[in-house]
């Protein structure tokens, strides 16, 4: 069993169609802690001690957020800046995260084709997420491929429900350790491990 911590960040969840659909039923899955950052820290005043204890109790850290300007919303960055302290997360004495896993769950309006070398964004999602990837590595964590929802503006209710189902399946697979790490790392997206 792996314990999963979802660090969810959306500054306007009340008007988000995709993300509110995506997180339906997530918090009731055993072994999963759903942590709504904008709800917990409306003033960006992240409680570092509490967050570090939370991270220590979990094996997999998930940064779940909309893909704002090829990155995350400000509070996710604030969380990383404050919580991943020197001598705790990194540095010669910072070993708290060694052996844990991390990945991003993102939602974006662009299609898969747009995030290609010849597409309009010129880079893949994986390339854009490289700062997260390297942050995880620096802290001794294994960085998994991201779970991605594309072309969010065009999705129907059924398609959103499908993504929700897939997300839950992925989380359950990871929580139950029912898939080997090499299998996971082979994929471009975590969505693909269901194939």
């Amino acid at each position: 069993m792996s314990k999963i911590l979802i660090l969810f960040a959306h500054p306007r969840l009340e008007s988000s169609r995709i993300n509110s659909g995506l997180i339906k039923g997530i918090s009731s899955i055993p072994g999963i802690t759903f942590h709504d950052l904008y709800e917990a820290y409306p003033d960006y005043d992240v409680n570092v001690k509490y967050e570090q204890e939370l991270v220590s109790k979990n094996d997999i850290i998930v940064w779940h957020h909309p893909f704002y300007w090829y990155s995350c919303p400000a509070l996710t960055k604030q969380w990383i800046d404050l919580v991943l302290e020197h001598n705790w997360a990194y540095g010669r004495n910072g070993k708290a995260l060694v052996g844990k896993k991390a990945f991003n769950v993102i939602t974006t309006g662009g299609r898969h084709e747009a995030y290609q070398k010849e597409g309009m964004h010129k880079r893949t999602i994986g390339e854009f997420l490289y700062p997260f990837n390297q942050t995880a590595r620096l802290c001794g964590m294994t960085y998994y491929p991201p779970f991605v929802v594309h072309k969010t503006h065009l999705l129907t209710h059924q398609e959103i429900a499908k993504y929700n189902k897939d997300y839950i399946k992925v989380l359950e697979l990871l929580a139950n350790d029912s898939i080997k790490e090499e299998e996971i790392l082979k994929n471009e997206y975590l969505n693909d491990i269901l194939k």
């Binding site: 005043d45 992240v46 570092v48 800046d81 404050l82 991943l84 540095g91």
Partner: protein, 628 residues
């Protein structure tokens, strides 16, 4: 003698302990409870106390003196200045017109004009004790009826002094002697010096209140002996009384003045809570004595005469007050509370009557008749107020919860009830509305309710501590209740009603300061909002910004300070009953905060977290040789 004293004390206390809770339960208020207790143990029913009731009454009048001190503490000088119009206008006209009307009537029915005039001034007095106690109990002190009543009562208290000076001039009979009122220290001085001494005494109270009392209180507070503080509080009140009686002024007026001067001091709450129980007990004793002194023998002999005068006096006084209320633009319902509330003849009449007897102004027969009349009017007051509240008010003026049209809005089932819609409550209400959330609003100031209604807000008049009012305001369906009343006593009362009848309601309560917050915590309220916290910190942040501190750092400092202060409040609340531990605890907390600030580590164990690069810099320097 001593055995007798304890026996007496037992009788009084027992009567009060039995009768007052019954009266309160029946909705009659504590004043009526004490009066009934007095009647029961008085000479005409059980006969436990006899004629000494009169002496006890004189002693217990000291309760009125204490009450005026407490009233003064609640009244800051600025507020008093704002009330100068009503005090002089409303109060002055009430006393003079009542005196003249009563004088004319008694002359017409054949009393000598001197007696008539004396009676006129005597019956113009209303009962400060009963009216203020009743208004406080009903939470009406801050309404316009409450303020007007207070203004009139204050003027009457002041007017007692010239009336006492004036009465001997009306003497027609030989003085009975044994007088103690005019045989004061001051009368040994020549008459030209007397006014100077009086002015000097008042000046002494003011100067002492401003410059001597505070340092003394500070000095006493340092000893950390609670009873010594109580003793000092009593000393202030008693010594002013001695001084005032010495120069022939009303002691109530003197302590009132002292109270006003101390209203802004940091010891206001301690003084209040120390004097409060004494005041309560003495007032209770006073009301019992009034009850016991009602001469049922006289009433039985001449029932028509006695009740005729009672009815005539109360009607005359009420009509005059109603007219004055209209002139001074009180709303109809407020005017009713004001006029009927002040319709009795007050305790000062007892003083003035016995003084008139001593001075030979009135005959013994007249005096004892009037004594009975006065006592009955006082006893009737709580009943009259009850009738006004239950029967008349619901039919006129601002309705509590209107049955027809307004009922629909109450049926909206708003999720939130706001009790108290002054500056605090209305800001909350506006914020909720801006977010599309409607609240049911209750307020006890009918003038304010009227104004707000004219502005199109759905505000309801009424006392939010009443079960029936809360129920009709939808407390059963609502989720939250916000207590935004500035009277902490009333807030606590509402909390009791809610906990008893609507336990599902989440309570969010305003607290004026940490002392209020402690009381709320004791009641199990978890959501407490101190008026004096957020705004003060915000101001502090701006002040430091002006000194050149960085905004974001200050923002975070403020957040931390806020959290720690709330946290400390909980800690301190647990130990606050023991003054000694409380102070050392509080001191330790302050030292902790300052110490950690000096260490540049914000407060406590919170540091600059991930932004703090000190350890990283250290590590980099340790493992790399720095090229100079």
């Amino acid at each position: 003698m001593e055995g007798n004293f304890f026996f007496q004390a037992t009788i009084y206390l027992l009567a009060a302990v039995i009768m007052v809770p019954i009266a309160k339960k029946l909705g009659l208020g504590s004043v009526l409870g004490y009066l009934i207790a007095g009647i029961v143990i008085g000479p005409f029913l059980l006969g436990f106390i006899g004629q000494e009731g009169q002496d006890i009454m004189h002693f217990a009048e000291f309760g009125v003196v204490m009450m005026l001190f407490l009233v003064g503490l609640e009244l800051e000088p600025a507020l008093l200045w704002r009330l100068r119009g009503p005090i002089l206008g409303l109060g002055g006209l009430q006393v003079i017109i009542t005196a003249i009307v009563v004088f004319l009537i008694s002359t017409i029915i054949g009393l000598p004009w001197k007696e008539g005039l004396a009676i006129g001034f005597i019956v113009a007095m209303s009962s400060t004790a009963i009216v203020l106690q009743t208004l406080n109990e009903k939470g009406l002190m801050k309404t316009s009826a409450g303020q007007s009543s207070f203004a009139v009562l204050l003027f009457q208290d002041i007017a007692v002094i010239p009336i006492l000076a004036f009465l001997p001039l009306l003497a027609t009979k030989t003085a009975v002697g044994g007088a103690d009122h005019h045989n004061t220290f001051i009368s040994s001085f020549p008459s030209w010096a007397q006014p100077l001494i009086v002015i000097g005494a008042v000046a002494l109270v003011i100067v002492a209140g401003m410059y001597i009392v505070k340092p003394v209180l500070r000095y006493v507070a340092k000893t950390r002996l609670r009873e010594l503080f109580t003793a000092t509080a009593l000393l202030i009140v008693v010594s002013i009384t001695v001084l005032m009686v010495g120069v022939g002024l009303s002691p109530a007026l003197g302590t009132f003045l002292a109270g006003v001067i101390l209203a802004n001091s940091e010891y206001k709450h301690e003084l209040e809570s120390d004097i409060e129980p004494f005041k309560g007990l003495l007032l209770g004793l006073f009301f019992i004595a009034v009850g016991a002194s009602i001469d049922f023998g006289m009433i039985a002999r001449e029932p028509y005469m006695v009740f005729g005068i009672v009815a005539a006096l109360m009607v005359i006084k009420t009509i005059i007050l109603l007219v004055l209320g209209i002139v001074f633009k009180l709303k109809t319902d407020q005017n009713f509370i004001f006029a009927f509330g002040l319709s009795q003849v007050g305790e000062f009449a007892f003083v003035l009557l016995s003084f008139s007897l001593q001075e030979g102004v009135l005959a013994g027969e007249t005096v004892s008749l009037l004594m009975a009349v006065v006592a009955i009017t006082m006893a009737l007051t709580p009943l009259v107020m009850l009738i006004i509240e239950k029967l008349i008010l619901p039919r006129i003026g601002t309705k509590e919860i209107e049955v027809t049209k307004e009922h629909d809005t109450i049926e909206e089932n708003n999720p939130i009830i706001i009790a108290g819609f002054g500056h605090f409550g209305s800001t909350i209400g506006r914020f909720l509305r801006a977010n599309g959330v409607q609240a049911t609003i209750l307020d006890i100031d009918s003038d304010r309710v009227d104004t707000l209604r004219k502005m199109g807000l759905k505000v309801f008049y009424g006392d939010a501590s009443r079960y029936d009012l809360l129920k009709s305001a939808g407390a059963e369906e609502a989720k939250l209740i916000i207590l935004a009343i500035d009277d902490p006593e009333k807030n606590l009362e509402i909390i009791h009603t809610i906990k008893k009848h609507f336990p599902h309601l989440k309570i969010l309560s305003r607290a004026r300061n940490r002392y209020d917050a402690y009381e709320l915590m004791d009641e199990g309220v978890n959501h407490i909002y101190r008026e004096s916290l957020d705004t003060s910190i915000r101001l502090g942040v701006d002040a430091l910004k002006m000194l050149g501190f960085r905004s974001h750092k200050l923002h975070r400092m403020a957040k931390t300070f806020f959290k720690l202060d709330e946290h400390h409040l909980k800690d301190l609340s647990k130990v606050r009953k023991d003054q000694k531990i409380y102070i050392s605890y509080a001191k330790q907390r302050i030292e902790d905060m300052e110490e950690s600030m000096k260490n540049d580590a914000m407060f406590g164990d919170i540091k600059e977290e991930g932004w703090d690069s000190a350890s990283l810099v250290e590590e980099v320097r340790k493992y790399n040789t720095i090229k100079e």
